[in-house]
């Protein structure tokens, strides 16, 4: 299931509401930091143990005493969300620590009072030789940057009577956010917060918002957003179940509600071509479009000028537009393009991390346009594999800008080789035949495929291998696809089952 994040600005909240939000953010950040600091030892022990980690196990760390201590931070409205976020941070840290023992323990909030201690720790590590000069400078910069920075407040559920929800005024065609930020002590009494408005909850049945007795523990703030977000909110009006968790965050003095919204599946368009998108050595991206027979149609560059935090979205929008115009299946490099051996020419080149982030964005942007989600294929040797004959050797790269295959003579600028290979990969996978090795034994021939686990013996003097194909067909039927833990086996099984003629799908290799 694909999700996207809607960024909705809280429009001109009053001074009182701003104060409440600031206070909630501060309390949340402090409480989260308290939990992280208190259970640092246990989390490190879990990381070292190598045991399987579950959210339940991590939530169980928060004992009764810790739960009581949380109340001192006045975080009752979002206590559950706090615990969920704590478990999520701990799980993420454990996974990172297991891959990289030098991973740093998460820091949710650095009180100005703790700033001195944090800097002292950095200095101590540097003096003990645990970190080099560059790392010391980087750590100090992070500490200075982090001091006083508030963590975004996580709302773990969409609900009309807790956490958060959205409201809609049909007559004014305006949206509002209802955020539970106050506990019972801080709650306020108010005649009505909805006077002059005919607000309804964005929930099943669209119930009206009514005045409730007692202190109010929430704030209602109008929302401001762009056309695209408006279209998404309209979809949520028809199907409120699309709205999920959210975060309240503050940036440059403004407040935003980042809502996670499920992307509605729509009937997928059938594609008539494949579009390989690779990083470009000159910055931005290169794409190549081929038809389903592998015939080259066109290629081009995608480069955008945008603010650093918007550049990936701009690039994605261009990719989606081009894919939609050409009805293309987008194919990307897996793992952010690691090991693709792209010839680097420019500081503007997208990093592996940026490319991986781009792939994540396309996973929901393409389905929005009714295109299939991107397919990620192995990037190993992408920029020195021949797109025509698949000969893979670094000797195909004559220089950083020139590619010439030493097997078939195909030559091109090196920058296009990546996207050309990607565009042709799916077709190549489909055309590749499943190998069956044939070895001579005493009086027989043994046919086998280790990945599939298939073996068959025929007499050596046999001229027609049909009995072997019949046996293979029976074997495939009996397997039945019940081996999801072995993706290679599953892939081979699926490929053979889909083929109308087993003989055409298999390649015999005499050993």
């Amino acid at each position: 299931m694909a999700y996207k994040t809607l960024m909705l600005q809280l429009y001109r909240p009053s001074g009182r509401k701003r104060a409440w939000m600031d206070r909630a953010l501060l309390r949340y950040s402090r409480a989260l930091q308290m939990l992280l600091a208190r259970f640092e030892y246990q989390i490190d022990a879990l990381a070292e143990s190598g045991a399987k980690i579950s959210q339940r196990k991590l939530l169980a760390l928060i004992d009764k005493k810790a739960g009581k201590d949380l109340n001192e931070f006045h975080v009752q409205p979002f206590k559950d969300s706090l615990k969920i976020e704590f478990a999520s941070l701990a799980a993420s840290y454990i996974e990172q620590k297991r891959k990289n023992p030098r991973a740093r323990y998460p820091l949710a909030y650095l009180d100005p009072a703790d700033y001195r201690a944090a800097v002292s720790r950095c200095i101590e590590r540097f003096e003990n030789g645990e970190t080099g000069r560059r790392k010391f400078e980087s750590d100090c910069s992070k500490v200075i940057e982090r001091t006083g920075r508030l963590r975004s407040l996580y709302f773990g559920r969409y609900a009309v009577n807790r956490d958060y929800c959205l409201l809609y005024d049909k007559f004014k065609d305006r949206f509002y956010a209802k955020l539970y930020l106050l506990n019972s002590l801080d709650g306020y009494s108010s005649k009505t917060v909805t006077s002059g408005l005919s607000l309804r909850y964005l929930a099943k049945g669209m119930p009206a918002v009514s005045n409730q007795a007692g202190k109010k523990r929430y704030v209602i703030v109008p929302l401001a957003f762009g056309k695209r977000q408006y279209e998404d909110l309209k979809k949520a009006l028809e199907n409120p179940g699309l709205l999920h968790t959210a975060r309240l965050t503050k940036k440059k003095g403004r407040y935003y509600l980042m809502v996670n919204m499920q992307c509605e599946p729509a009937p997928v368009l059938s594609t008539t071509s494949t579009m390989g998108v690779s990083r470009s050595p000159f910055g931005g991206l290169n794409y190549t479009i081929c038809d389903h027979d592998g015939k080259f149609l066109k290629h081009g560059r995608i480069a955008e000028q945008a603010a650093p935090n918007q550049i990936l979205y701009s690039l994605c929008n261009r990719i989606v537009k081009t894919a939609w115009e050409n009805r293309s299946q987008v194919i990307l490099e897996a793992n952010g393009g690691k090991n693709d051996r792209m010839p680097l020419r420019d500081d503007r080149c997208l990093s592996n991390g940026q490319y991986a982030a781009l792939a994540g964005i396309l996973k929901y942007k393409l389905p929005e346009k009714r295109l299939p989600p991107p397919v990620e294929v192995s990037a190993n040797g992408l920029f020195f594999t021949c797109p025509r004959c698949s000969n893979r050797t670094f000797r195909n790269r004559i220089s950083s800008e020139l590619f010439a295959c030493i097997e078939c003579g195909y030559a091109s600028e090196a920058e296009w080789i990546g996207s050309e290979n990607l565009a042709g990969r799916l077709i190549k996978y489909q055309r590749d035949k499943v190998p069956l090795t044939v070895t001579k034994q005493k009086d027989s021939l043994l046919f086998y495929n280790r990945t599939l686990g298939f073996e068959c013996t025929l007499p050596q003097n046999v001229t027609d291998y049909q009995p072997m194909y019949d046996e293979l067909s029976r074997y495939l039927r009996d397997l039945g696809g019940a081996f999801q833990n072995d993706p290679k086996k599953y892939a081979v099984w699926k490929k053979l089952c889909r083929s109308p003629d087993l003989r055409a799908a298999v390649r015999l290799i005499l050993k």
């Binding site: 004559i398 003579g409 195909y410 600028e413």
Partner: protein
């Protein structure tokens, strides 16, 4: 040293062209292998005929045992006089490798011959002389085991013109490509075909000029 010489050459005509202006001929004799690559300049039928004439002259004079310097001079004499590049004429490269291990080169208005020693580019010195207004470059060298000699026509160097290559498709690049493709068991035919395929590919499959490649491989 008694060498075994593997030689191959071929041409690809310009896209849409009726006649290929480049010609290659390889002649084997008891003494060694001689080849000519003739490149008709000017693009017309006359240039193509002059290229054919050059090839025929070489074959005939070789049969009489003439040295290649004489052959080169005679070919130049059969051409329109030099100095006016708009006049159709035939550029040429003549390569002769003797079994005893000597190579003779004579060229007029064609790209320098490439020598690869075990796949690595090596220098080939040539001397220049002017004959009937045309500059002839000639040289003599010794060949060793696993040497490869590559000669190309002028069309090959234009192959990268429409590509976005800062350094272009130069003799240096061709030399590097041949060096990468070289292997102890790679034949002259394979190398020549690779070079022609690369040139054709750089022209997007529609060469704007005739492409020709001639490769000699020396084995013990």
């Amino acid at each position: 040293m008694t060498a075994r010489i593997d030689a191959y050459g071929d041409c690809v005509s310009q896209y849409g062209g009726k006649l290929c202006g480049d010609r290659i001929e390889i002649v084997r004799s008891e003494a060694g292998v001689t080849a000519i690559l003739a490149d008709g300049r000017g693009g017309g039928a006359k240039a193509a005929m002059l290229a054919s004439l050059a090839v025929k002259m070489m074959s005939a004079m070789l049969a009489r045992g003439e040295p290649i310097e004489e052959i080169a001079d005679m070919i130049v004499e059969s051409q329109p006089a030099g100095g006016n590049e708009s006049v159709d004429h035939s550029a040429f490269t003549i390569l002769q490798v003797i079994y005893s291990g000597t190579i003779f080169i004579s060229q007029m208005e064609t790209p320098d011959v490439i020598l690869l020693r075990r796949g690595k580019p090596a220098g080939l010195k040539t001397e220049r002389k002017t004959w009937r207004g045309r500059i002839i470059r000639s040289g003599i060298s010794n060949v060793r085991e696993a040497d490869t000699i590559v000669a190309v026509g002028n069309g090959m160097l234009r192959a990268g013109a429409e590509r976005n290559l800062k350094d272009g498709w130069t003799l240096g690049r061709i030399s590097a490509y041949m060096g990468n493709a070289w292997g102890p068991r790679v034949t002259a035919e394979k190398l020549a075909r690779l070079l022609l395929a690369a040139g054709d590919s750089l022209f997007f499959g529609k060469p704007k000029d005739d492409l020709s490649a001639l490769v000699f491989r020396v084995h013990r």
